[in-house]
């Protein structure tokens, strides 16, 4: 009986770990209200990562801090690109003085390979803020 309970507990833990998106809302934040991220393929290996973030009010900063793109090369997942708001090229992913922001970055990948991204969203005001990491589904480039 105890053994069955242990097995069920392990299965439950695995299910929770494997399907994080099943839990739509699990945390509270004074800064973040809603967020989402997804990845789309534009053909020929070209992909785009989109996100949107809604804060609980107008904030100093709303958007994404980083977007990490992973590629599956047939044997392992590797980071192929990191987009950071600190890089002047991608500073647009973090907006200022707003309560909502949606944006995207694009990547020219290899056709036929799998890609997914982890987007770290952020909302902050007066020196405080919250961040969350969202992992997109994978797509074939």
């Amino acid at each position: 009986m105890i053994r069955i309970s242990k097995v069920l507990a392990i299965i439950l833990i695995l299910v929770i770990c494997i399907t994080p998106e099943a839990i739509a809302a699990t945390q509270a934040s004074d800064y973040l209200a809603q967020y989402d991220a997804y990845i789309i393929t534009n053909g020929n290996g070209n992909i785009s990562i989109w996100f949107d973030v809604t804060a609980t009010g107008i904030m100093d900063q709303v958007g994404a801090l980083t977007i990490i793109l992973k590629e599956y090369n047939g044997s392992s997942w590797n980071t192929v690109k990191t987009y950071s708001h600190t890089n002047s090229l991608y500073s647009h992913i973090l907006a200022t003085n707003t309560n909502v922001h949606a944006d995207s970055v694009s990547y020219s990948g290899i056709s036929g390979r799998y890609y997914y991204a982890t987007v770290t969203v952020w909302a902050g005001v007066d020196g405080g803020g919250d961040s969350r990491s969202i992992t997109t589904d994978s797509v074939v480039g």
Binding site: A25, A33, D36, S106
Partner: protein
């Protein structure tokens, strides 16, 4: 041995006048020159020229026949000493030469003695090559590590290229076309949320007609992305906010909403289930109507929130 003696004699020569060179035999002067050329110490060129002048003077007055003119010397060099341009070998490279039975000029055969020293030099060359390889490997490792660290911090080290004009110097990041960014979605501004939905041909009842009196519209944005259109209105009252967030998810993507550990309650109105929860200081209502995911979030009482929801369907 004779050369060593000659070297010491050369040192003496520095202290004596050049007349003493005239007293030395031509063979001794030649040995002196050879010793000087093979010396690891810095050669005093004045001594060399003094010796050469004495030999030249003697050759002019009494030619020995050993010095056969410039043209003959050049021909001899081309024939016997000049390294093959095709093989790109040094004239002192005897590694392959010693394996065959090729006959060499007498002077070259004398130089074979140098091979005795080459055996000692080879490990030194290997060590030098090994040392150079280590230096190159270290540089590569440092550059590779720097790139990884820079990339970890989101900085494209190799993308940063120097921009140097006549009056300025700076670093500028290179924008590569294969990793180019897509600019954000067009932000469309309206002054009324209902009007915006009307313009997008959205007939569903989604917008409250009532909000608490003290709140006024602070910002209204419509964000179009490939899989969703977001209509977002924020109303402010001092430090309090109300957000009405409507998302067209026809293409199928759902957002995540923040909530705390308090229970979620259900408020049904107009046959639509509205899920009411709290997110710290704010109360939140989330519901679906057709293809639209809707949220009202703000510093409101539950009564005010339900009144806002009721106003959506009271037209």
């Amino acid at each position: 041995m004779r050369g060593v003696q000659a070297m010491s004699e050369l040192d003496d020569i520095k202290r004596k006048n050049t007349e003493q060179l005239d007293q030395m035999s031509t063979d001794d002067l030649e040995e002196l020159l050879k010793a000087k050329s093979q010396s690891s110490e810095n050669t005093d060129m004045e001594d060399v020229f003094s010796i050469l002048e004495v030999i030249e003077k003697r050759e002019k007055t009494n030619p020995s026949g050993k010095y056969t003119g410039v043209d003959a010397a050049w021909d001899s060099f081309q024939k016997n000493y000049r390294p093959s341009s095709k093989e790109a070998k040094s004239i002192y490279d005897f590694a392959e030469d010693t394996k065959d039975n090729t006959s060499y000029p007498s002077d070259v055969k004398k130089l074979e003695d140098i091979n005795l020293f080459r055996r000692d030099r080879r490990p030194l060359r290997r060590k030098a090559l090994l040392r150079m390889a280590c230096v190159i490997a270290s540089v590569v490792i440092v550059l590779f590590s720097s790139t990884i660290v820079a990339r970890a911090f989101g900085f494209d080290l190799w993308g940063a290229v120097a921009k140097w004009t006549s009056d300025t110097f700076g670093f500028e990041s290179k924008d590569t076309t294969d990793e180019g960014t897509v600019t954000g979605p067009p932000v469309i501004k309206y002054v009324d949320l209902a009007e915006a939905l009307y313009d997008y041909n959205i007939a569903a009842e989604l917008v409250p007609s009532w909000i608490p009196n003290a709140f006024s519209l602070a910002d209204l944005k419509i964000l179009e992305t490939p899989k969703k259109i977001v209509f977002d209105a924020v109303y402010n009252n001092d430090n309090k906010s109300i957000t009405i967030h409507i998302t067209d998810i026809s293409e199928g993507t759902n957002g995540s909403y923040e909530k705390d550990e308090q229970y979620t309650t259900i408020y049904e109105k107009n046959d639509i289930i509205h899920y009411i929860m709290t997110n710290n200081e704010q109360i939140v209502a989330i519901w679906m109507n057709e293809n639209y995911e809707c949220m009202i979030s703000g510093n409101l009482s539950e009564h005010e929130l339900k009144k806002m929801i009721d106003s959506i369907y009271e037209r």
